[in-house]
Symmetry: C2
Subunit: 569 residues, 2 copies
């Protein structure tokens, strides 16, 4: 039952005034797309959000983790100049806090000489002052995360009072160790903070996307709700930073354990919430999550931001008629617009007619420009140079690689001449076993499908065709082939993709050893052969493009393997 | 003054016997070259060392950090199967400890669920038992080090008693925080251990080479000697692991503060020391260290181990007549033998006569095989394909890149056909500013000079010629040029290398910001231009070969930068 009109409780009531007992509060979640190191742009974007929030009579607006400098800024954090610019951004945001409070993530300096130089902090800015700074305690240092490289963990936990409310500020991972049940950590920040009786919790996050992560996020927020029975505002970053994609999907949790609201995926959003409504929550509101749809949308955003943030608009893709380049091209067209996608068909003497036809059909379906550059003449000129040096040898993978590299070179030439970025089309299965040519089909600015197994590429193609044929049916149904020698099929060198992908998943995602995988029922010789292929091809993956990450274990910064070694190899 | 013959104090005296009071002790330092994941090979190598040590009546033999599995094993440490093999190696080593104790580094499991799953431990094996396990407390997580990614830090410090001696075991970084003066850490393991009155200290290390590091190591060991006044055995790893080079140079420190012995650099060695001699030390024995000589020897080992450990013997190098490829070729010939080095001269229409002559002269000086493959015909066939698509455009960097990529492709074709590895010849200065072609001259299995500034490459060339001309004088004295267009000079696009290198050093090694560098007296516009070039070319460095690390800050795993960003760019 409401004694006063709702509006009465909101808005510009100073915590110092003491005239009215302040009961309700309006909190804004701003999930925005920041650019690493773009202090001016990031602050301007937050300023616009603060202006809107002021018009809405918002009490507190929340931005994501390390929002000032972008996440992950990586070794830029080692530059004193970079940290000065973070501090300056905080000063500029502090100046905006007349009548509104801002919660924002930024690095802060460790004032004592012992320990790392920085903290990963949540700032509470209000009344033109830094009212409170809470440092992050749980520093993820695994997979793609390197936080202990830069940050000292928090050792003190203090809540902040703003107006008549007490607020527990936390940073990302800090809420992921519920009651010390996450074996990675020995402390649980909220267990400490609840002793100080906060009214609600704010968590500023930059939690990168995987196709399981949106659900993981809901699960962990619910665990927090059930344990602490406090409203929780979880503000995530949105936007892609090279290989890492942040999907947004920020959450508001109600004390009754329900998800009160889930912000949209893969787009910027500002939403406003009355604390009272959250406390009185009756129903859960979450979005449906389909794995392939999530991957699709994530990859579109990943391409989009890679280009936009680097200042490029156009791409060039080698179209083979096969499924990987087809799916990559559709994603590119959806990310950049068909008018910004240019394809090159580069048939050789081993290309089948259907390949060229399938590639043309795809280009027509999408309405994209394409060029045809047969590579035979260049191949012959290479042959001419090399033949005298190859006397006494037989054709082998060398000749196949030359074809792949000629194609890579033509794409790079078009890229250099017209200022468009080559998209890499390798999938995770072939990257895993080294079924690709370094500097050939492994070239490109960013790898779109490098974290998508071949079986998932097929699922993506079918998803793309759900409302009518985009990818020619023949591209989906024909047996995969690199077409680098007569009648070549992937199945000549590799097991069927469903078996290959399962074994790879157990090894890469689940870090199972050969015995464990064999015990699951797979052929022992095959398992050993595949694991060996993964390990001896580390040198190729080292030199390929960064991979848009969609799974829990992507190649690249999250999987760091020795090149020289002798394990399962 | 000696009351008993020295021998009397050494050898097979059981700590249980109690018959003779044991006063002296013979300790062996074995700095050996391990291969990551090669448990069988690593254990066999240690077994041979133990056998020799037994013949020498040694009491304790010490191996380096994580010797069982090799260092750095990186994410292999996430595989339970890998850790089982480490445990098995420890069991095999334990079985050897009849009459001798073994100190060896290996991962050990954290028995409690909280915290990381592993410790980075020093095992003390004796009397066929694991007598003690001391975990590492200070886990380097900066530059090339990721130890907190895998390991839980030690929280307890216990010394071990063996025969009549009490020994403080430490692991690498544990002795680098003298009296808590290293601002990175808040604990000092030896400060804790000395309370238990150890007789001496053993430190098992895997401390990678930089040209300053041999001196750093002596300095830190001396600081420990001066503080604790105890004999100290510092056992370092030797051997290269892809980009990381371990130089050996293990140390024995005397309580009087002197370096009692320094083991050789860049080679395996086992040396024996009587504790009594160390205690009675009168003079310091250290090797002279010249920066360029150290870099030279490190790179030779780096090449050697990259090939040997991958099972290759032969290299192929593109020889341009310029200084980078010349220095790389000399290093390769010294590492692999002239008979295993094959060069390819790939002149274009822009190559000067002197380039081909200088390259031939070098090949003759070294007695290496070379082939000449003019690239004009292939270039023309590329031009033929591309011309219709390039209508309305002017020649630019595209055409230069095509030449560089044709060369890369020819080298890769020779590599694929003959099973030899291409050596990358890019230097640090050009890698820094992006003066190189991705998939062209930036190709190769490993980058030999990627951590050597151009001015240092010149110094290396002069060092190589100290006993007579190896590198043709003209290669050293002529102005550097990529020879990709008529009369091109590096100085057309870049400032003089001495200025460029100084600015790069301040930014890369010293993490100084633009204002700080300008304040040092460099031209503001130039500084900003160079820093921008470094940052916008991160995408190229991401896809190039691993770089043999010789400085405190090499490109690659020790310098992690965002590709997409807007900082100084």
């Amino acid at each position: 039952m409401r004694f006063f009109p709702k509006e009465f409780f909101c808005g510009f009531v100073s915590s110092q005034s003491g005239l009215i007992k302040f009961r309700n509060m309006k909190v804004a979640i701003a999930q925005l797309n920041f650019l690493i190191g773009d202090f001016k742009g990031n602050v301007e974007k937050m300023k616009r959000a603060v202006d809107s929030a002021k018009e809405e009579n918002t009490d507190i607006i929340c931005f994501s983790e390390l929002a000032t400098c972008g996440y992950p800024a990586r070794d830029f954090l080692d530059f004193d100049n970079f940290i000065q610019l973070c501090d300056q951004a905080i000063a500029e945001l502090t100046a905006l806090t007349d009548g509104i409070a801002i919660v924002v993530g930024s690095p802060s300096r460790n004032p004592v000489p012992e320990g790392k130089d920085l903290y990963n902090s949540a700032y509470f800015l209000a009344d033109k002052k830094i009212l409170h700074v809470q440092h992050k305690a749980l520093l993820p240092t695994y997979d793609v995360f390197d936080e202990y490289r830069y940050f000292e963990p928090a050792s003190t936990f203090k809540i902040v009072q703003y107006r008549d409310k007490k607020i527990a500020l936390t940073v990302c991972e800090d809420i992921w160790n519920i009651g010390n049940e996450n074996p990675l950590y020995t402390t649980c920040p909220l267990d400490e903070m609840v002793k100080q009786k906060p009214d609600f919790v704010i968590n500023v996050s930059a939690s990168p996307f995987t196709y399981q992560h949106a659900q993981d996020r809901i699960d962990i927020v619910k665990e927090n709700l059930n344990r602490y029975k406090l409203p929780l505002f979880y503000v995530n970053h949105i936007g892609a930073q090279t290989e890492l994609i942040f999907d947004g999907g920020s959450l508001v949790g109600a004390p009754n354990g329900n998800i009160h609201a889930e912000l949209p995926f893969f787009e910027e959003a500002i939403q406003y919430f009355q604390l009272k409504d959250i406390v009185e929550n009756k129903e859960e509101k979450v979005q449906a999550k389909d794995k392939i749809e999530l991957i699709h949308d994530a990859l579109v955003l990943g391409i989009q931001d890679y280009f936009k943030k680097l200042g490029f608009t156009k791409t060039i893709i080698g179209l083979s008629g096969g499924i990987d380049s087809a799916v990559t091209t559709v994603l590119a067209a959806r990310a950049l617009g068909a008018e910004n996608v240019r394809c090159v068909l580069m048939p050789s003497q081993y290309s089948s007619d259907h390949s060229v036809n399938d590639a043309r059909a795809l280009a027509a379906n999408l309405g994209i420009q394409y060029d045809i550059m047969p590579i035979e003449s260049v191949y012959q000129s290479f042959e001419q140079i090399l033949t005298p040096h190859f006397i006494g040898t037989s054709p082998n993978v060398t000749e196949e690689n030359i074809q792949a590299r000629i194609r890579g070179m033509l794409l790079m030439a078009m890229s250099n001449k017209f200022g468009n970025i080559v998209l890499n089309t390798s999938n995770k299965s072939e990257m895993a076993v080294g079924y690709g040519t370094l500097y050939g089909d492994m070239c490109g600015g960013i790898s779109v499908l490098g974290d998508v197994y071949k079986t998932e590429v097929f699922a993506l193609a079918k998803y793309m065709n759900k409302d009518g044929e985009v990818i020619p049916e023949n591209t989906i149904t024909k047996p995969p082939s690199a077409e680098l020698r007569p009648d070549q099929k992937d199945s000549d060198s590799l097991p069927p993709y469903d078996i290959l992908d399962d074994i790879l998943f157990e090894y890469i995602e689940n870090t199972k050893g050969p015995e464990e995988i064999i015990e699951m029922g797979y052929n022992a010789k095959l398992v050993k052969r595949i694991l060996r292929m993964v390990n001896i091809n580390e040198f190729k993956r080292y030199q390929t493009a960064p991979v848009l990450r969609v799974s829990r274990k992507a190649f690249g910064m999250g999987r760091r393997m020795p090149i020289v070694g002798k394990y399962l190899s």
